[in-house]
């Protein structure tokens, strides 16, 4: 029986009512008294020397309040990078300066050069057209392998080259890995591209800066996944504002998918300019601006090799990847192709020896950073494509080859530094085979062929590292932040609770699922629990939402704080009941004395806490409010097996997804409806990457796919109904809820099975092409089939 409340119930989302009635409060819905508007003049040249920015005529345009250029920010810090990677020689990565407004040079199309602040947005835009910018164009570097050649134009003149770092992992394993390849019975090699994507949350970014002259406090309203991170980075590194004088608010946020983690120039600008002109300053990105200013995702070029013995056991894995950083280091960019990617290369397999090499490269393109999955989709894609290729080369069944090499004993220490606590890869594969109706595939293929179509089946597994992250560990790996989470539980006198969580909800439904957890722990109705997030003036220092960390880390902090509440409430109850504290039990919102019928209600205890008339003031403080910070001891490791079935029209190369099945192991689950929805969304983004989406630059660094007219966002008619199951559950062993996180799985797990299915369909039509790069567009498929 499904539960009707608490942990495990598909409670309907309380946040839906405001969104369905037009009462959401997104940043662009806010307008402050006396607000001015900023429009950024952005570079339309990818690489050049900025010889002059003449604002004289523009400054005289109607409504213009002030125009800012790079000179105005010379005394201000640059945009910081939050992660320092150490290369294979033990040297720190090359870290270029990243100005708020371009200074000296422009390095990518979209880089802001000047900011016009005016009475209206239209006036700001009109005036921006009157700014005279002189740029001496330089040759641009776009292709990563060209960028690291000797003599290539340098993106940053003060760096030694365009190589940010050359990372080897685990460097000490390299010799043993190479040796294993020499001894291998079979080696499968694959070269592939993980296509560059744009996250495209439906809400474009917005920032409103405000400054209060009476108390010297700055407020930034922004579309962020982690307002405290923005407060810390912007306050400490860019503008020099102490945190107690800087409030950052991220109200309803319309999707993030990673691209709203990062601290952006527009946020710093609006905060800075609000004080400079002594008025609130608002910026609302257009979609076209978003394409050239939001951090992009993926963009790896990889060669990967698998060594197998004569019995088809995996003996070693070796990769060589180029990862695009773009023109500057976005906030967490260096960590994505390294610690979020290399550590996942074992996948679901007991490959004993692994060596990963990653060269991170600067190019004259928009910065690249985390996008849903962040490094883990890149790892999964190359590994799961490679295993499929190996199976076909060896003439063995791809599922059988995977099963043969599965890790089956847990905990399992991989050769790439992480330890999987739990998992059951056999169970998810068993479940998948049942869901995908493998037995019926032959008949379905025959039916497709009767209509002149090809049909293909593809499968893949995935593992991800979520619940980011143990602070001590990531500190050793170069993170310049802790990755704990916080929660304050405030109980009111009449028994209602407010939980202030450092996690941030931008579509994940925390206001519902977090309330389910607390309600279950106390035994009260969910409606008595309110979740507050997204405001640094209300919530304790928290690290926000990304890396499928909210329930695993933020939820754990909330559990710890609620445990403290319950412990104190029991003390108060023991006094009210004149019983020993150890005999007090909490059940269904009432405290009782074990073995008796004596009890007091939750509300009696909370009232006593705030009206302490009959109260042991010598022993216990009044009030009922507790805070906890939770720092995970390990990552969590969700895993699963996915299957895709496609139909391919050999006349046109058009691929359609006919079935998609996903068997996931997320450990324990709080709200199955929300978890399923998260998987659906992830699948759509993964299928979008595999079939449709591509962020394309020309050789001059012009972005060719800079609007929804050119960038193929998945539409309703591009996607199927999904079959999603999460009944295989191996609970996480090291957090109090036994949860693993589910937000990124769909995007991580789906691209390889789509491509594997397309290749299977092509093979069935007599075209064994070995590999095809994403997106598997009709033209690519047709060209591959027709040489």
């Amino acid at each position: 029986m499904p539960k009707d409340g608490g942990i495990g119930a598909s409670s309907k989302r309380r946040e839906d009512v405001r969104f369905l009635t037009g009462n959401g409060n997104y940043t662009d819905d806010m307008n402050l008294r006396g607000q001015a508007y900023v429009h950024f003049l952005r570079s339309d040249i990818a690489h050049g020397t900025l010889t002059s920015v003449n604002t004289e005529a523009a400054a005289k345009m109607p409504g213009v309040i002030q125009i800012f250029t790079g000179d105005d920010f010379e005394a201000v810090g640059g945009m910081p990078c939050g992660w320092q990677v150490t290369d294979k020689h033990g040297e720190a990565m090359q870290e270029p300066k990243h100005p708020v407004l371009a200074h000296g040079k422009v390095r990518h199309v979209g880089e802001p050069i000047a900011a016009v602040v005016a009475e209206s947005l239209a006036q700001a835009r009109d005036a921006a057209e009157a700014i005279e910018v002189d740029i001496a164009e330089l040759p641009a570097v776009v292709n990563m392998k060209d960028a690291v050649k000797d003599g290539a134009p340098k993106v940053h003149d003060d760096l030694t080259s365009n190589l940010c770092y050359d990372w080897g992992f685990v460097e000490e394993n390299k010799g043993a890995v190479d040796e294993a390849f020499e001894k291998a019975a079979h080696v499968t090699t694959l070269e592939l591209t993980n296509n560059r994507l744009v996250a495209n949350p439906m809400e474009p970014r917005v920032a409103i800066g405000d400054y209060n002259r009476s108390d010297g406090e700055h407020t930034l309203y922004t579309t962020s996944q982690n307002p405290h991170v923005i407060r810390l980075l912007m306050g400490a590194f860019v503008l020099g504002i102490p945190e107690h004088k800087l409030r950052v608010v991220a109200p309803d946020v319309g999707g993030g998918f990673g691209t709203k983690i990062f601290h952006y120039q527009e946020e710093a600008f609006c905060t800075f300019a609000a004080k400079a002109i002594n008025r609130p300053v608002k910026w609302t990105s257009t979609r076209s601006e978003a394409f050239i200013s939001d951090a992009h995702g993926r963009d790896h070029v990889t060669k990967i090799e698998l060594a197998l013995d004569a019995d088809n056991n995996f003996t070693a894995l070796r990769t060589d990847t180029y990862a695009n950083m773009g023109a500057y280091l976005s906030t967490f960019a260096p960590s994505v192709p390294t610690w979020l990617h290399g550590t996942l290369m074992a996948g679901n397999y007991k490959t004993p020896l692994i060596y990963v090499n990653v060269k991170a490269v600067f190019t004259n393109t928009v910065p690249v950073d985390a996008y849903r999955g962040a490094g883990r989709p890149e790892a999964t894609y190359q590994l799961e494509r490679l295993v499929d290729k190996a199976a076909h080369e060896l003439g063995v069944d791809p599922i059988k080859l995977r099963r043969q090499n599965f890790i089956t004993q847990f905990p399992y220490a991989t050769p790439v530094a992480v330890e999987y606590d739990t998992g059951d890869y056999v169970a998810t594969m068993d479940k998948l085979e049942e869901m995908a109706d493998l037995a019926g595939f032959a008949a379905r293929r025959k039916e497709s062929e009767s209509r002149g179509k090809l049909r293909g089946f593809g499968v893949n597994c995935y593992i991800e590292a979520c619940g980011i992250a143990p602070s001590n560990l990531v500190g050793q790996l170069g993170a310049r932040a802790g990755l704990y989470e916080s929660a304050t539980v405030r109980v009111n006198a009449t028994g209602g609770l407010v939980v202030m969580t450092g996690s941030h909800s931008h579509g994940q439904g925390h206001e519902t699922s977090f309330a389910q957890v607390v309600a279950e722990m106390i035994g009260i109705d969910e409606s008595m629990v309110d979740i507050v997030h997204g405001d640094t003036s209300k919530v304790p220092m928290g690290m926000g939402t990304y890396g499928s960390r909210s329930i695993a880390v933020g939820g754990s902090a909330m559990v710890r704080a609620t445990e403290k509440i319950i412990a104190k409430a029991k003390k108060i109850a023991s006094h009210l009941l004149e019983a020993s504290e150890g005999d007090i039990e909490l059940k269904d919102g009432a405290f009782s004395v074990a073995g008796t019928d004596k009890s007091v209600a939750w509300g009696d205890v909370t009232l006593a806490a705030y009206v302490p008339h009959n109260y042991p003031l010598d022993d216990i403080e009044p009030g009922l409010e507790e805070t906890a910070f939770y720092d995970p001891s390990n990552f969590t490791y969700p895993s699963g097996a996915y299957a895709c079935e496609v139909e391919l029209d050999p006349e046109t190369g058009q691929v359609t997804i006919e079935r998609f099945s996903a068997a996931d192991d997320f450990g324990n689950i709080i709200n199955p409806m929300i978890v399923t929805g998260q998987v659906h969304g992830g699948l759509a983004q993964g299928i979008g990457q595999a079939l449709l989406e591509n962020c394309a630059y020309d050789e001059d660094g012009q972005l060719l796919s800079a609007s929804y007219m050119d960038y193929a966002m998945p539409r309703a008619s591009d996607l199927p109904m999904y079959d999603v199951d999460h009944s295989c559950q191996t609970p996480c062993t090291h957090n109090p809820l036994g949860v693993k996180g589910c937000g990124e799985a769909g995007a991580i797990g789906s691209p390889p099975s789509v491509v594997n299915a397309v290749l299977d369909a092509m093979r069935s039509g007599g075209h064994d092409v070995g590999h095809i790069d994403m997106p598997v567009s009709p033209s690519r498929v047709w060209s591959a089939m027709h040489g």
């Binding site: 946040e15 405001r18 969104f19 369905l20 949350p201 439906m202 809400e203 998918f257 539409r715 008619s717």
Partner: protein, 161 residues
Amino acid sequence: MAQVKMTVNGKEASGDVEGRTLLAQFLRDDLELTGTHIGCDTSQCGACVVHVNGEAVKACTMFAIEADGAEVATIEGQANADGSLNVIQQAFQDHHGLQCGFCTPGMVMSAAALLKDNPKPSEAEVRHYLDGNICRCTGYHNIVKAIIAASGQDVSAIAAE
């Protein structure tokens, strides 16, 4: 500047607008009806869908001045008279047809227009109709399911949750 007058959600509304002011901007900035969202600048995403004289229109494709004298309906006017969610809105909540909520007003307005013209649409018809509405969160599964449910058709055969 020119004056425009229109009826929005049954109430008279007016304002002074520039020739270039879009209907979406007028609704959001002048009338403070911020439920109509702007998600792109190429009339692709559909977050701004409203009804003008009973027809679904992307409010970013129309100047405010073009709506002079029109009857406009927005998401703010969709709930039942007692404030409860209407059938389509309720189906979106029941079937988890929204996550971040940003595309949702446009989805609900498009769904209402679809069901007016085609009271019992098939899954393929719903998907085809929604080609002008982009959602990045849900993968569409639950939106399609919610709209079919709102039409009164059985959705029990569509995968759970």
